[in-house]
Amino acid sequence: MSTAHTHEHHEAPKGLGRWVFSTNHKDIGTLYLLFSLLMFIVGGAMAMVIRLELFQPGLQFVHPEFFNQMTTMHALVMIFGAVMPAFVGLANWMIPLMIGAPDMALPRMNNWSFWILPFAFAMLLSTLFMDGGGPAGGWTLYPPLSLQSGNSFAFVIFAIHLMGISSIMGAINVIATILNMRAPGMTLLRMPLFVWTWLITAFLLIAVMPVLAGAVTMLLTDRFFDTSFFNAAGGGDPVMFQHIFWFFGHPEVYIMILPAFGIVSEIIPAFARKPLFGYASMVYASASIAFLSFIVWAHHMFTVGMPLGGELFFMYATMVIAVPTGVKVFNWVSTMWRGAMTFETPMLFALGFVVLFTIGGFSGLMLAIVPADFQYHDTYFVVAHFHYVLVTGAVFAIMAGAYYWLPKWTGHMYNEKLGKFHFWWSAIWVNVLFFPQHYLGLAGMPRRIPDYSVQFADFNMISSIGGFAFGVGQLLFVYIVIKTIRGGEKAEARSWEGAKGLEWTVPSPAPHHTFDTPPELDDSQLAHGGGH
């Protein structure tokens, strides 16, 4: 029996200082998660503005210039402010608990990783109030358009630098924690899959965030210091920015999905009451996906001008990713095969993830085909694709993880009825929101425009209705979380009957300090590896 040694005399400090000066992985994890929730609401509000303007053809509510700021900021806020910090928050909370470590390996740096973010986003959001408004050239910041923004430009670039510093430090901490802080006996191939996927994600982050920093630095010097990286007159090329950017950008989308794979791989076995099918193949599939992510970037650029050999290489390399991803979907389904399944909210979100993320994967395969992409490029088909993988993929997995671990964090069970309602409401409306966008794209509606031709009116109205309903539904999530923090049915240490892993051997809520001395591992308690 593995036991948690907790020192009651190390209670959490009181007051604001507890949060500002914290070196505690649980408190910092909470900060990350709450910050992410706040940014999710801010970015969601921007999405509402977008869907409102697109409700009907013609210009109704906002200036086209402001509309473009909304699409740009919505992306930056959701990617760097909502999804990535949510995963880092989950990593902070769960990785030390899952591997039996007393805390993150570098606790002071952990604090800094978080506390850079509020400043970075204050800076980013402040650009909306500047001369010329916020960035409006799309989150990808393609030159020459992005170089023509107003005063906001330098602020956006530096905000991205700050976010990069935060991500890199966070990733370094995750790697050091996983490689150096595991309890004795917690060998690499006994680690929970969430830990494995985060290890690989952290590697991707350290490899590509500096490349983004380099790319935006070149933008900055092109704008202010006379360089010609992206200026053909000086022997540069705007397309080169796209290459450097997407060398970061494609691994970035796996940074936003690998931890989601990890969460789902924890939840499905728990509610199917069976060990994960094909544990080792899951690890190898994750590693293959990470490797492939470095050699597919130009599939974002099929129409910008590339030699034929390049188009073919990037097409085939992209399609190969379907193999390891298919392995994963196969394993999740096989885990459920003949399992004693129950469908609590985390499981519902995890199942929603498997089905809907797979739809996003298939539309991704369609986009990978060069001649087809010539039609789809920069249409709403692309928008539908990446929202399926990011909203019903990443965000659904985050929701699943939140419901799964909320009892461990708060010591209370959330309201199951409300949780299930939240799932069904979200799952229905998110499809009303994004599924019609496939057709809009196939019919030729371009993305990033505030007005459109009348033949797109019906599907846009349906999509907007779905958007409003989905958006309102997320307020319910906020309500459920707040309510669970404040009270509710007491959660047991093992909050779910079928849940395995070290995190369920400590009390709920998890004490301020856990595993001050390493736990003794008991195979029957572990989710993976031992005994299976």
Partner: protein
Amino acid sequence: MSHANGSYYVPHGTRWPIIGSVGLFTLVVGAANWMNGSSSGQWVTMAGAAIVLFMMFGWFGEVIRESESGMYSKQVDTSFRMGMIWFIFSEVMFFAAFFGALYYARSFIVPWLGGEGTGAMTNELLWQGYEPVWPTNGPANLGGDFKTIPAFELPLFNTLLLLTSGFTVTMAHWALKKMQRRALVAWLAATVILGFVFVYFQMEEYAHAYHELGLTLGSGIYGSTFFMLTGFHGLHVTLGAIMLLIIMIRCAKGHFTPQEHFGFEAVAWYWHFVDVVWLGLFLFVYVL
């Protein structure tokens, strides 16, 4: 303020990161305003830099005190090592972006502008008569005619300086392992001096490029890649030399033992990293 938890040291609370965040924020807000032409921008930038410096002194100082009072176990040491290794890896990837830009420009952009492959019509219609050779400041001759720095003069000498400094820092490591403190400080001093002499010659080279060769940051893609690569490298050498200087002072004060000297090793790794980057620069920026 701090307290050892079981075997692994976990500090209880720290104020340095929030100071660092305020400093970084002040620094970049100032820099952005400065670039936008605000006259107060430079003062805000400097204030931010001062706060960051204060934070670094405070933070590193606290860690050094903890380390010297023996609060760190072998496992903590390993965490620090991993942190440094992955930090250096992130730096490698930062340079990779600029090296990538250099290769892409040389192998693709310039030939395409000259009419190769599908660039034929671009060249015909926009840049007729442009001869695609390296070095280039592009078809518009941006920044005017320029000459490049000959590789086998000052850059070769600088290469020898840095290679020698890699040797001296290794000698310092040997001296530390044998606990010959005087030799250790002397070898480190030699390394620091070599580092700063390198930076001095780089500045000389820049002055020469700007004043006599007509080579500036505005000299098209050649000027961009040349100055951004060598500039960021020079910045890293400067930082590395300052770090070495601080390690030297710590050695003189009697810090580090033959068994435990992570601070020394981290800086030595960093120094080898800037050394290796320079070899890449010498080959791809100066020689080829």
